[in-house]
Symmetry: C2
Subunit: 318 residues, 2 copies
DNA sequence: CGTTTCGATCGAATCGATTCGATGCTATCG
DNA sequence: CGATAGCATCGAATCGATTCGATCGAAACG
């Protein structure tokens, strides 16, 4: 840039201002600088140098589990999409941080901790030591982190109540690995069905859900309703039930969570719709505020139960 | 870091070496430096400063379309997963670049151009001007970019030949928006069926495929086989066919592309299996080599047709 | 014993901008 | 007409490390 300034016959500082526009520069000067830049093949200020000076990299990390599992669940995408949209509008980029990797050494302005079911995370201490703002989505409430959550407990309780109203008395639940959402939802479920049976933990994956619930039925598992922790799980349970000649919801009711589209299922699931895009936007806003040094309140997003065709009156009311 | 060096009683350069380990430092010195760092609450060298000095940011951008559409197709994930794995092992991070956004201003060491069906891209000129290495996956062969591709043409021709062998003479094809893979595959198809009918362009999306092929059938479209450009499209065609009472493959054969799992379909698709993970690894290796300044050869990955239950003898051989 | 080598350490230059405070100059105002 | 702004520009300090070349002892060598 020094060369450009020299070629344009202005000082280095003026050239800088011509590019950044942070202070007024006369039009003829700017044109002269840009012309000189063009002539010298200068592509604009070096981002690395600007980053050092400004103390920011413009990059926000997002901790996900393995990419292929994190994004397999269709609930993850609209959320990340919304995060990305808001951050892009602010000129920031989103960096994927698959689990296990220590991404120390990368200059991150903030980190979003999302999706991964893991409770602990190696890089946490390091980030805190560096003073990197942390936004935790549906995770453990770490000290110093801003916290974005969803009404898991209320959603789960609403579904349970819905099934109870339909006469169900013997329900079972497919769970996730222990995690904040799982604990909250289980608490909500037990508000209504203190005795609900746990089928077992299961990834939010169609095939996994089929196999876990299948094994449970093989072992003589019985329930008039199966409550799942995601729509993908619920779809797996529906498919597995049908494979066994069970009618949904005639023989067994199935409820999901998330409220995502399952176009390949000829049935609308009863589920808890969570505001995925708004969750992403709220997360991104929290990130930007924290980068700006503001104090940010935690966020709790509302959910809404949607009754579909996968739940019906209990087959054998107690 | 200057404070740490002072506290440890060594020079700034020695302190730097103690952290980076790029030159030997006596053990007692290193311990003294690390102790001083701990006492002063110093979390290690500032990545921004290191980046400026070394001229690298450790961040690789990947241009995708909209996130939610780019990752909806299950073929995209294993590929990106492999890219991420290789880059992480090299200490680099992957930054998502949704389309439309000018990510100028972010310090990228290289950019992967993938997935997005778009042929042009605003940031291209800027990146070239900056000398940022570009790796293009299945895209147009831009000057200066390293090119990673898949045997689209051969795969498409193999499927066409397979159907021809089964007696099909009247086939139709669901296409993608104009793009490099689409053009190659269509060329492969026409090696065998020069007259193949084009149903229409369609995103790689289940619902979109259903509606496009449904409209075609409504308009009196006829064919004994429908060749699709992704397994997701093929699944959509299968579901739509059944919805109309057509048997697959009895009344109509359906072929896909990619070779991804479709567990919610009770049918294994005839498809062209492409080495998704290897594609990702090859891409990442190309990126790393180009960042290292090496000259990199273009890559062409092999495909293999897999015959499943979605194709069978033609219903009405000509 | 003189000399070469090697490892550890240090001082200083460098990476490429941004930005603060100062300066000169031209309108505006009373 | 003198004082007060206000705009454009400039010089110099700064961001926080990495790294080249030099220096100094001590060990290895003939």
């Amino acid at each position: 840039m020094a060369d450009v300034a020299a070629a344009a016959g202005v000082s280095l500082s003026t050239a800088s201002l011509a590019f950044s526009g942070k202070k007024p520069v006369s039009e003829v000067t700017r044109d002269r600088v840009l012309a000189a830049a063009g002539a010298l093949g200068y592509a604009g200020p070096n981002p690395l140098a600007r980053n050092l000076r400004q103390g920011r990299s413009g990059v926000v990390g997002v901790a996900v589990g393995r990419l292929s599992t994190a994004f397999r669940d269709p609930a993850a995408l609209p959320m990340l999409d919304a995060v990305s949209e808001v951050l892009d509008a602010a000129g920031m980029g989103l960096l994927l941080m698959p689990e296990g990797d220590e991404h120390a050494g990368l200059p991150l302005d903030a980190v979003i901790y999302d999706i991964c079911g893991c409770e602990t995370w190696g890089a946490y201490d390091d980030l805190v030591a560096r003073g990197v703002p942390l936004v935790v989505v549906e995770g453990p409430a770490w000290p110093g982190a801003t916290y974005v959550d969803v009404e898991h407990r209320r959603g789960a309780a609403d579904v349970a109540r819905h099934l109870h109203d339909l006469g169900h008395r013997h329900v079972a639940t497919l769970t996730l690995e222990p995690s904040h959402p799982q604990r909250e939802r289980e608490a909500g479920l037990r508000e209504v069905f203190p005795e609900a049976e746990v089928i077992g933990p299961c990834a939010s994956d169609l095939v996994a859900a089929q196999s876990v619930v299948g094994a449970w039925w093989d072992d003589g598992g019985e329930a008039t309703a199966v409550i799942c922790q995601s729509d993908v799980q619920a779809a797996g349970v529906v498919l597995e039930a049908r494979r066994r000649g069970l009618d949904v919801p005639g023989d067994v009711s199935v409820a999901g969570f998330d409220g995502v589209a399952t176009p390949w299922l000829d049935l609308e699931l009863t589920t808890v719709v969570q505001p995925l895009a708004e969750k992403g936007r709220a997360t991104a806003r929290a990130v930007l505020s924290r980068i700006a040094g503001e104090v940010v309140d935690d966020v709790l997003l509302p959910v809404r139960m949607r009754v579909g065709g996968s739940t019906g009156p209990a087959a054998h009311p107690a």
